[in-house]
Amino acid sequence: MTKIVIIGNGMTSYKFCEKIIAKAVPGTLQLVVFGEEPRPAYDRVHLSAFFSGKTAQDLELAPADWYAQQGITLHLGDPVQHIDRAQKTVHSHKGITETYDYLVMATGAAAFVPPIPGVDKKGVFIYRTIEDLEMIRDYAPHAATGAVIGGGLLGLEAAKALLDLGLRDTHVIEFAPRLMPRQIDDSGSSLLKAQLEKLGLRVHTSMQTTAILGDDTITGLQFADDSSLPADILIISAGIAPRDELARLCGLDTGHRGGIVVNEQLQTSDPYIYAIGECALYNGMIYGLVAPGYEMAEVVASQLTGTEKAFTGFDMSTKLKLIGVDVASFGNPFTPADQCRSIVFEDTLKGVYKRINITPDGQHLLGGILIGDADDYNMLLQTAKNKVVLPPNPEDVLLGARGGQAEGAAGVLGLPDEATICSCENISKAAICNAVKDGHETLDAVKKCTKAATCCGGCAPMVKDLITATLKSQGKYIRNVLCEHFDYSRQELFDLIRIKNLYSFDEVLDHYGHGDGCEVCKPAIASILASLWNEMILAKGNDTAQDSNDRFLANIQKGGTYSVVPRVPGGEITPRQLMVIAQVAEKYNLYTKITGGQRIDMFGAHVNDLPLIWEELIAAGFESGHAYGKALRTVKSCVGSTWCRFGLHDSVSYAIRIEQRYRGLRAPHKIKSAVSGCIRECAEAQSKDFGIIATEKGWNLYVCGNGGSKPQHAVLLAGDLDSETCIRYIDRFLMFYIKTADPLTRTATWLNKLDGGIEYLRNVVVNDSLGIAAQLESEMQALVDNYKCEWKEVVENPALRKRFSHFVNAPEEKDPTVSFEHLREQKKAAEWK
């Protein structure tokens, strides 16, 4: 039995335990771990997630029971204070003495705090442990202005955390002339700075802090250039200091600037003592990242279980997370200009900067920097690491092949088998492909089997691409199936359900699926049924197949209340209707807001109140606005020729006509529209799924525009149409979209994927190239004729009404956990934890 004592229970310590347990013959090892922190090892990399609701327990890498189950003795809250190398024993703060055969030091690093006078004042924090974050969280509400010393990876993360904690006025102070001096170059840094300032951070570079001002409590910072900055809270994130104090005490070799010196085997100057993670100094270098620490854990675990393995350095590529701007640097981003060629792409408008360094012969990628768009990070990193030969025009790896050529060597399949895909867990391309070949054909299955993509998740898109590529190479046809319960695509099911005349989710499942359904196939099929038959969506047992918002005919919000959005066709509303909304909102204590869709949203309704609220609205002539459904939302209008001196036609009347025609229409995703009275386009019709703009001769019809996160302009489908033809084209267009789009695909994405693009679509809709135009029109007419306001049906139907209560056994009572906070003259949902 070999006894191994591990000092420190941080990320690498845990990984070491996991790895050595997996490698060792059971019963041959005894492991004892000492941790200084009060809790078992947690995910420090995602520490900031603590502020967005993760608890300390959520962040645990494994619960304390795990150690017990593996037979590992874990002493928490008990730092080792002394190592006796002659006796091979360690002594802890609480008085425990343990002997060891081998000792593994995984003591990590502490935040480096520069010797600035005043760092001990109240309101000054570091950013390393859960306790640090707890203190920051408790202090932040008393502060208005925040500052962070250090504009590196961690400093920026800390600054974003202060912003998210509500400190709208947050400053980053960097000593160097640029941000992230170790990862990115000057141009990259100035672009990053501009992007961060858009997020609300204020960045000060070339600033040396000389003192922290205030009596007991911080009030500001003093700089070397005699300027100063008021601040109520300060986080110091100026680098890390390896925890080598124990090693020093027992006479192990340490570096000038800290760190426990190790060789390729990760042995310290005492061959029975190893050091791994952020405390280890290999080849003059401290690796302040988790992936090299895990690799070190792997090397030592292998050696102690009898397999030779060496640590030969590690790539310091990183991708910054959480900050709201993509930043990545990989390989060597700073190769001197005489040893490489650089290709730089910059778009200051979009805030994108990309630079790659390649060998002078143009064959290999050496490293680079990506800011604003780091989607290609994994691919480029692997191309550099694996010395993949670059395409003839190396700029293609930055800009994509632009000559209509097929993807060159840079695709995932171009990578060699040894290429590391998941660097946190060190999983190779071969391991992932083999797992797929062994039958693990989904991302979840591959994650479980290989552990790839389970840590930071950054490689998940590449893993997905590999799964698809491997399946394809095996000759497997990748069908776009709904989920594990249906081996059909949405389009196939749409046709099957229509042909078989099926009306409920259960019938469809019995005919074409297997198992019991899930949150993916249920709403997709419920939506198909609604698009086909336009029956009451809560009937025939389909209520529980509807997405939660559809099931309660309202959008659920923070805290569990709902919003109420009556339809206001074209945005036209009478003073009397406004009074009704005002009365209802006051009576039921609802927050009111004008939406971006030209109507009024009332928020904060208890589920019990929904039928009562709608009863009053319906009595006053309102209808459901379907704000909760994948359905027609709003048809915005501009005021048009009735009042506007430029208006060509009456855009409001036409918008109302369109909205009333398609109200309640359900589709693969929501549909929005707008009508503008002239080319000045005040209704923003060109950002809608279908938009109409008045011309001298009629209407121009635009389709497939989108707002949202990837905005896209609509494209002209047909011009100068009369009102009737325009509606016929819209009928055909919408029905064709409804029949053929994948679930949750907006019209813009649908068009982008449509073979033949807008030309094809125009042929189908305008020239009737498929000969289905008449059918599409009559199908649409059937849906239009079948329209009923679903809220009216609920209000009039006691059985449906009954479902709108919180407690089944106390239907009168409201959810007592719902609470609100005061905001200006109204209320808002209480912040969630």
Partner: protein, 127 residues
């Protein structure tokens, strides 16, 4: 599912079978607690879990959608779609998310009862 031998279960009457939508859930009030009760009628099964979703601490699971994943019955929270096993409460979408407390359910003559261990009003924790 197994209950420890020493535990005694107190059954309380939650509602009638017809009060729960087929293949859906309702929220049951038990003293100061909220319990989500599900009728997985397609499988002829009943389940009960805490109503609180541990992710953002929302009283919402009874309004979630039920289904299966690899044959295992589960509920997906309406807020962010994290799903939890109805059988043992563990989170199926995220290894780090907390588990749900689950409760035994029995149906007698159209009446649905939820079991509370030791009458403590707390977690009939099932392994």
């Amino acid at each position: 599912m197994s209950l420890s031998n020493t535990a005694t279960i107190t059954w309380f009457f939650a509602c009638k079978v017809e009060d729960v939508p087929a293949n859906g859930g309702v929220c049951v009030k038990y003293r100061d607690e909220q319990i989500a009760l599900f009728h997985f009628s397609r499988r002829g099964e009943w389940y009960a879990t805490q109503n609180l979703c541990p992710h953002r601490r929302q009283m919402a699971l009874s309004r979630g959608m039920i289904g299966t994943q690899g044959g295992e019955p589960k509920v997906a929270c309406p807020f962010h779609k994290k799903s939890f096993s109805l059988a043992d409460g563990r989170c199926l979408s995220d290894d780090t998310e907390c588990s749900l407390t689950t409760y035994p359910v029995k149906v007698e003559e159209d009446r649905v009862y939820i079991g509370i261990v030791n009458g403590s009003g707390h977690a009939a924790v099932m392994a």
